[in-house]
């Protein structure tokens, strides 16, 4: 157990926790964007910055990755912390000026003017949340960060013998800026960002669309199921 002070409150918390998780359990709200409770934090978006005072030295840290230490004082609402968040928001605005989510969070963090001069048409902020989810939750490692001339981008891994995208939509659901788009039209599921197309299998009893065939194959593979799984839940049982 370690003793820390957070926004003037003295609390005793378990060792190894991040500042963000302590703040959340104390009911203190810290804005986040690239954080998701099910995957490891990465500290890429920097909107969760807080001020930490330790041994009379003050500095700002990303609360989602910074672990608590004995005797530290955390200020989530100080001017220093707010300035750090505004700077983070400005960097994000520079990269993704047209994203409504980024504009909203920038306003919330105290940026006066959210109209950026940046000409970027990007909506991705390279926060790597989709990459982490594809690796840790889905377990197929279908996407990764690549470096291009225009900066860091997320792209699909080249197709080879290893597992690739199964069209589950986890990245679409989790993307904080809504950059990844998935569409089901006429029995084909497309995820434009990954250049992926999947044929959707039909239920062999009722004939309605069931799930992408590649997903059914994936389930059969990992659980060793013999059945071809092409009966929908309403038709089975």
């Amino acid at each position: 157990m370690v003793k820390i002070t957070i926004d003037g409150r003295h609390v005793e918390v378990e060792d190894g926790q991040t500042i963000l998780s302590v703040a959340t359990s104390e009911g203190i709200e810290i804005p986040t964007l690239c954080y998701h409770e099910t995957v490891r934090p990465a500290g890429t978006c920097r909107v969760c910055m807080v001020e930490v005072v330790q041994d009379d030295k003050s500095r700002t840290v990303a609360s989602c990755i910074f672990k608590v230490k004995d005797g530290m004082e955390v200020k989530t609402d100080s001017d220093v912390a707010k300035d750090a968040r505004i700077k983070a928001a400005e960097v994000l605005l520079e990269r993704a000026p047209n994203s409504k989510v980024i504009q909203d969070i920038a306003t919330r963090l105290g940026v006066q003017d959210v109209t950026s001069t940046s000409k970027s048409t990007e909506k991705c902020i390279a926060c790597t949340l989709c990459v982490r989810i594809c690796e840790e939750v889905v377990g197929v490692n279908a996407i990764s960060i690549v470096k291009t001339e225009s900066g860091r981008r997320v792209a699909a891994n080249p197709k080879n013998d290893t597992l690739t995208c199964i069209g589950c939509g986890s990245c679409v659901y989790a993307c904080p800026t809504g950059n990844i788009e998935m569409e089901d039209v006429g029995g084909i599921r497309t995820i434009k960002n990954w250049d992926a197309e999947f044929e959707i299998a039909k239920c062999k009893t009722c004939g309605n669309y069931l799930a992408p065939q590649v997903q059914l194959d994936h389930i059969k593979n990992i659980y060793g199921i013999e059945d071809d799984l092409t009966v929908c839940r309403s038709c089975s049982a």
Binding site: V138, C168, D184, Y209
Partner: protein
């Protein structure tokens, strides 16, 4: 078919705001829907709950299931109280007596409290344009008081006040089109949802909360006790009702209709009605009549949806 599946449920918010241990019947679809709605809305929410099953089962003294501010009102005035709460927050924020930031004000009620008793208060609140969400849990009768018919009860259904027999088919009128009444108020958002499609439901609730102005969301809520169906098939019924076209899922944003999911081939209505005791007396010709009507209604929705 819902877009999200497989691994996406692991990514849904894990924090629960509607605690287990309440006294709802086994297999209650309404509580499932309440849980999903609360999850979608998150912490900054005030719930105004009209009289009905939800209020009875979740707040038995000295316990409560609500981990968010919750207020119980009469049968008829949930929307009026929600208007008051929303206005009070707005005024206090203007005077600097309340912290800034968005607070979701949510009025909840069953179909009786929405379609019949609370309709005038709801109509008033929607017309005045308060920034709140009204969620109607539609279990198609007054279940809490002992399965009396309401204007949400579908044609042919057995209830204690519409008993089928030699001279009666059961409920003799068709279900009131409540979403259309809400649309007629020119409010920004109207949607229907089913707890069998949780991501669709949560997305709609979130959208309703984000938009400024009133939002009306009608959620289909299976009731094993009132429908004389088995508790374990509640979710299946919530899915079948969509697949048979008896409760199409759609949203209306600023007057523009959009079907959330459509099926190439509708499932026959018998698949949905057979597991339920309330439709047991219906004959072949009744089913044909009902099927025809449902198909016509769905076609109407398709036309409206395609017109945009």
């Amino acid at each position: 078919m819902e877009k999200y599946g497989l691994y996406v449920p692991k990514l849904a918010p894990q924090k629960e705001y509607f605690a287990p241990g309440h006294r709802a019947c086994v297999g209650c679809g309404e509580m499932l829907a309440v849980r999903q709605v609360c999850k979608a809305l998150g912490k900054e929410t005030i719930v105004i709950n009209s009289t009905g099953c939800i209020e009875i089962v979740s707040s038995l003294f000295p316990d409560t299931s609500w981990e968010m501010p919750w207020m119980h009102t009469l049968f008829d005035n949930a929307a009026a109280v929600a208007s008051g709460v929303e206005s009070a927050i707005r005024v206090m924020q203007r005077k600097g007596k309340y912290r800034d930031g968005k607070v979701n004000v949510v009025a909840m009620g069953g179909d009786g409290a929405t379609f019949d008793i609370g309709l005038q208060a709801l109509s008033g609140a929607m017309e005045r344009g308060h920034d709140f969400i009204y969620v109607c849990y539609d279990n198609e009768a007054y279940m809490n008081t002992g399965i009396q018919r309401s204007s949400a009860t579908p044609y042919g259904a057995m209830t204690t006040t519409s008993p089928p027999g030699k001279k009666s088919i059961g409920q003799a009128t068709w279900k009131k089109d409540m979403p259309a009444i809400a649309v007629a108020h020119n409010i920004p958002y109207v949607a229907t949802a089913s707890p069998a499609y949780p991501f669709d439901l949560m997305a709609k609730v979130k959208k309703g909360a984000e938009l400024k102005g009133p939002a009306y969301i009608q959620i289909y809520s299976p009731c094993p006790t009132g429908w004389r169906s088995a508790g374990e098939i509640s979710v299946k019924l919530a899915r079948l009702v969509v697949e048979t076209g008896a409760f199409p899922l759609y949203e209306v944003e600023n007057g523009k209709y959009k079907l959330s999911m459509d099926f190439e081939k509708l499932r026959p209505i018998i698949d949905y009605m057979k597991p339920q005791g309330r439709f047991r007396h219906l004959t072949e010709s009744d089913l044909v009549l009902i099927q025809k009507r449902l198909e016509d209604q769905l076609q109407e929705l398709r036309d409206k949806s395609n017109a945009n």
